[in-house]
Amino acid sequence: MDFRDTPDEAEFRAGLRAWLVEALPPGWQQQPPHVGRWDEDTARTWARKLYDAGYSGITWPKEYGGQGQPYTYQGIFLEETARVGAPDHIGVIGLGMAGPTITAWGSQEQKQRYLANILSGEEIWCQGFSEPGSGSDLAGARTSAVLDGDEWVVNGQKVWSSYAHIADWCILVVRTDPAAAKHAGLSYLLVDMKSPGVEVRPLRQITGDPEFNEIWFTDVRVPRESMLGQPGDGWKVAMTTLLHERGTLGFALTAALERAVNRLITTAKETGADSDPVQRDRIARHWVELQALRYTNYRSLTTLVKTGVPGPEGSVAKLHWSESNQRLTKLAQELLGERAMLSGAGGYWDGYWAYQQLRSRGNTIEAGTSEILRGIVAERVLGLPKSR
């Protein structure tokens, strides 16, 4: 047991820190935090800079243009970029979900066609899993694909697709065999978002931001070979995607919570709450919750590195983070008093906490609701009988 960086890890971290100082605009860290999602230009430029410096696809195999480094390096990357509040990578769906799934299931042609452009950030991906009628119940997907000659003809609707409004490609779960049992009738397509019949409409959230989108597919024709796995493999392929989503998710969540706790501490100092023993206790609790997430994540990572599969403790991360972040942002708003209700330029940090607090309500719904995750812990980790 040793929590210190190995000499190689320390070198990677030092190099990254130095690079971040150069790569971010002067005075970056003195600015108040960014509110809402990043504009497309900033995000694309940042993705390109990361790629040019070799910080894109850190854990991807070298043969596909990655750096071939262990997961700890990805963890260090997320820690250090969070520390300085660097912009989000615009290609997260490609890097974290589509890419690893294509690596696992794709043909040689598919790997050559897609992976390099995901790494460079040239092509943006979105995810077409959830539907209005099937959110948590992915296997209930009804969007259909029917083979017509050498093409699949896709009809249906997907929701909660981040980046769909700018995406070039979509990983899409479709039903290809309505007669087969629920899970067995699904397939997994790679769909060009510029195909005729694809329509993207912004979906406005309670924050006021259209962060997600709805996608309509009307007689969209997709080449027969644009499938990962065989017809009927869709469920298994989708599970690969979700496994990868959870693989490094813990680091991203720790990084996000670290940013939030640091900002909460700053706000406490600026509002004078740092002299109130009750608020000091609540803030210290958040600091403890952050460390608990960090070290649980390290533990899960150690299991992953040693055995190749993430440990059961990994299922804790998202559940804990989402609820901790909800309490934290609500506390930050409480510290602001009446000012909490000002959004935009007149608000504290341009309404940063107001936005974060409202956004946090989605945390226990997206990427597995808390109810689904508690069920997963109960059934798969603790071995309790299936509940209905």
């Binding site: 929590f3 406490a268 000091r280 210290a284 460390q291 403790e313 109810e371 309790l384 009988p385």
Partner: protein, 302 residues
């Protein structure tokens, strides 16, 4: 970065778990708890033979053993000795405890007592057992002999940190046992024609215990490592681990009692002994709130 116990430590854990299950099944623990002493006087010789008291053990080794002692409610003054008294005494060879405000946990079960800057022979003190909530870690009132008796010692600066880290580990063991007992029970207990573990009201609460347990475990191991390695964050790590592990143990035992229903509320059922140990750990040397106050001081200053 490597957050795993070594192979030797994993073997140590497995053998400790087996030995405790074999030597102290829960009905024997119950009999000892309900008996006159509240500990097994033969245990110490066995612990010595097993090597649990060796000087060569590192803090992360003791972390493993304290966790297992919590899991099995080892009826011997092992945790009080290695976690509380050993830094001042200088060894864990003889059973020992510490005196706070005239009271010592396991006070009637030990040979040495640390009182302030002195270590005194228990045989030189007047020791009176007092009724205690945790009947497997009973308090005794200690009247010390004349002021200059015993050997004077200087407490090492990390004594408090070692104690905090090891008690957090004991709390993790208690929580794990409460969870294991609950999972086993809700898998077989039927009501309304179904096992109760299939009801989400039960399953989700049990999941919450698992989450709190794993978070506390990470903090407890981090704390033990930090103290062992002399890490600059050791102080806040111990405060975080103690506050979280204490609260997780209370929550885990309370959820266990609730999930067991009426049987969990009886004296016959073992759960209340784990609950009382969780309460003892949480009450010792500063509440979770006071631990967080330390963290707040580190974050904000006084």
């Amino acid at each position: 970065m490597d957050f795993a116990f070594s192979e030797e430590q994993q073997m140590l854990r497995a053998s400790a778990r087996d030995w405790l299950a074999d030597r102290y099944p829960l009905d024997r623990v119950a009999a000892i708890s309900d008996g006159d002493l509240g500990y097994d006087p033969d245990a110490w010789a066995e612990l010595t033979k097993l090597g649990w008291l060796d000087e060569s053990l590192e803090l992360t080794d003791l972390a493993v053993l304290c966790e297992e002692a919590g899991y099995g409610l080892l009826p011997a003054p092992f945790v009080t000795t290695v976690a509380l008294a050993a830094p001042a005494v200088g060894s864990a060879e003889r059973p020992a405890s510490v005196v706070h405000d005239g009271l010592a946990p396991d006070g009637a079960a030990v040979e040495l007592l640390v009182a302030g800057a002195r270590v005194v022979e228990a045989s030189a003190c007047t020791i009176t057992a007092v009724d205690s909530v945790d009947r497997l870690r009973r308090y005794a009132r200690v009247e010390l002999p004349e002021a200059d008796a015993g050997e004077s010692v200087t407490s090492t600066p990390d004594a408090q940190l070692r104690a905090g880290a090891l008690l957090a580990c004991e709390a993790v063991g208690v929580t794990q046992r409460a969870l294991d007992l609950t999972v086993a029970y809700v898998k077989q207990r039927e009501q309304f024609g179904r096992v109760i573990g299939s009801y989400q009201a039960i399953a989700h609460r049990v999941s919450d215990v698992y989450v709190q347990l794993e978070l506390a475990r990470s903090l407890a191991y981090w704390a033990a490592w930090s103290v062992e390695a002399g890490d600059p964050q050791a102080e806040v790590a111990v405060a975080a681990a103690r506050s979280a592990a204490g609260e997780a143990a209370l929550f885990g035992c309370e959820a266990a009692i609730q999930s067991h229903g009426g049987i969990g509320f009886t004296w016959e059922h073992p759960l209340h002994r784990f609950y009382k140990r969780a309460q003892w750990i949480s009450s010792w040397s500063g509440s979770a709130t006071s631990q967080r106050a330390q963290i707040a001081t580190a974050l904000f200053g006084d």
